[in-house]
Amino acid sequence: MFMILGYPAPLMFGQLLLGLINGAFYALLSLGLAVIFGMLNIVNFAHGALFMLGAFVAWGLLNFLGVNYWFALLLAPLIVGVFGVLLEKTLIARLYKLDHLYGLLLTFGLALIIEGLARNEFGSSGVPYPIPSLLQGATNLGFMFMPIYRGWVVLASAIMCLITWLIIEKTSIGATLRAATENAPLVQAFGINVPRMITLTYAGGVALAAFAGVLAAPIYSVNPNMGANFIITVFAVVVIGGMGSILGSIVTGFGLGVIEGLTKVFYPQGSSVVIFVVMVIVLLVRPAGLFGKAA
C-alpha cells in the first residue's frame, strides 16, 4: 500500500478531506462571527443556533413545501437573515450603549431558547435530510474515493468565503463597512444610515451561518445540537484568527480543520483538543490572534 510518512495514504487523505470539511464549516461560521463582531462589537453566541435553524428551515422547505436543496441553499439564508433583522432591531439594538457583556448574555439566551424550542419540537435525535441527487455517489480521484457531496461542501464554502471577502475588500459597500467598523459616527455624519447598515450586517452574518447549516444538513442529521457541537470550536477559531479579521477567519477556519484532521492520523488521542492547544499557544505569542491588529 502507498504510504506517507509511514501512514497509509488513503487514511491520510481521508482524514485530510474530513478536516477540510470541518474547516469549511469553521470558516463559514467564524467568517459570519467576524463580520458581526467587527461592526456590532458583539460576540454572537446565537450563531450556532442560527446555523442549526438554517438546516431546519431547509428541512421544512423540503418536507412542507417541496422546495429542493438548491433553492433551499438560497432561501434558508434569506429567511434566517430576515429573522436576524428582527432579532437585531427588536433586541440587540437596545444593547449598543451598554457593556458588551450584555450582548453576550442576550445572544447566549437566544441560543438557548432557539435550541430549546427545536428540541421540544423535534427531539434530540433530529431528522434526516437527503443528499441532492446531483451530488450523490463518489468519485475516484486516483489516490482516494471522494464522496461527491463532501467535495461540494468544501467547494461551496470556499466560493462563499471568497465572495464575502471580495465584497468586503473590493467593493464600495465593503469600504463603507470597513470605515464604519473603524469610526461609525463619522461615517454616519457623511450621510450613511449606519443603524440600517448594522442591521443588514447582522443579517448577512447570520445568513452565512444558515448557508453553512444547509450545507451541513445532508452530512449530519438535522438536529437541535448540531450548532452547539460546532460553535465552541468556532469560537476558538475566531480567537486564533483574530477577533473581527475577515481573512483571518477564513484561513484559520480551513487551516485548523486540516490540522485537526491530520492530528487524527498522527496522534488520534489529541484530535479533540488540538485546536485548543493551538489557541493557547497563539494567545501566548500573539494575544490579538494570527491576523488581528493589536488593540
Binding site: A179, N183, P185, L186, A189, F190, G191, I192
Partner: protein, 239 residues
C-alpha cells in the same frame, strides 16, 4: 445690515447648548453664516469651537437650541440626515480611515446633491492624491491626509462645509495650499465655517470672524476691521 435681516441665513445658530455626559460645554452659542461666506470661529483651546461644529453635524450626545440650515431646523435630526440636507464636516482629527485606500477614503462620502467637484477636478487641485491613490489612507503625510479630508467632502455636493482647524500642525507651503483651496471653493459658491487658531491665516480667507470664549460667542469682527481690532483679538486669544 438691512439686507441680511431679510434673507434667511444659510446657517442660523441661536441659544445652542451642548453637553458631553454631565459636562455642560456650550452655553447659548449665537451666530449666522450667510450663503457664499467664509466665516471663522476663533477662540482659545477648549472654548468650544469643535463642540460647536460637532453640534451642527449632530455628533454630540446632547444638544439644545436652534440650528437652522436654509431655514430648516436640524437640532433634532440624526447626523446622516443633516449630511443629506447638505452639510459636510472635515473633522479636527481628520478622520482618515486606515483600512481604506486613498481612493476609497475619497469616494466614501456619498454624493448627496449635484454640483460637487468631480474626481478629475479634485486631482487637479490635489495632485498628491492622484499619485498616491492606492496607498493606505493613513500612510499619507499629515498634509496629504488633510487634503484628502477636505477633498472627500468637496465631492459630495454639500454646500456648507465645516472645516475644523485644517491648518493645524502643517508646514507653511501646505497651509498656503489649503488657503488657496478655501478661496477657490468660495469662488465656486460654497459656504465655509472654519475653525482656526491662526488668525493670520484666517484673515487671508474669511469674510467675518466670531470669537468664542467659555462656550459662548462673545464678539464678531468683520475681516475688514480686523487690523483695527488687533489688540482686542490678542486679548481674546491670549497670543
Amino acid at each position: 445690515m438691512p439686507d441680511a435681516m431679510l434673507e434667511v441665513p444659510m446657517l442660523e445658530v441661536r441659544g445652542l447648548n451642548a453637553w458631553y455626559g454631565e459636562s455642560h460645554i456650550l452655553h447659548g452659542v449665537d451666530f449666522d453664516v450667510r450663503e457664499g461666506e467664509v466665516v471663522t470661529l476663533l477662540g482659545r483651546n477648549g472654548a468650544g469651537k469643535t463642540t460647536t461644529m460637532k453640534s451642527i453635524m449632530g455628533l454630540v450626545p446632547r444638544r439644545e437650541g436652534k440650528i437652522a440650515f436654509k431655514g430648516q431646523e436640524t437640532v433634532n435630526l440624526r447626523s446622516d440626515m443633516i449630511a443629506r440636507a447638505g452639510i459636510a464636516l472635515c473633522p479636527e482629527e481628520r478622520g482618515i480611515f486606515a483600512s481604506l485606500s486613498v481612493t476609497e477614503n475619497l469616494m466614501l462620502p456619498p454624493v448627496i446633491a449635484p454640483g460637487g467637484l468631480d474626481v478629475a477636478t479634485i486631482h487637479a487641485l490635489f495632485p498628491n492624491l492622484k499619485e498616491r491613490a492606492n496607498s493606505q489612507g493613513t500612510k499619507l503625510s499629515g498634509g496629504e491626509q488633510q487634503m484628502l479630508a477636505i477633498a472627500r467632502i468637496l465631492r459630495t455636493g454639500a454646500k456648507l462645509l465645516l472645516l475644523d482647524e485644517p491648518t493645524e500642525g502643517l508646514a507653511p507651503v501646505i497651509v498656503q495650499q489649503i488657503g488657496r483651496t478655501i478661496r477657490e471653493i468660495k469662488q465656486r459658491g460654497y459656504t465655509v465655517l472654519l475653525v482656526e487658531q491662526n488668525f493670520r491665516f484666517a484673515a487671508t480667507v474669511a469674510d467675518r470672524h466670531y470669537v468664542m470664549e467659555h462656550g459662548r460667542v462673545v464678539d464678531m469682527i468683520p475681516n475688514s476691521e480686523l487690523s483695527a481690532n488687533m489688540d482686542k483679538l490678542h486679548d481674546y486669544l491670549g497670543v
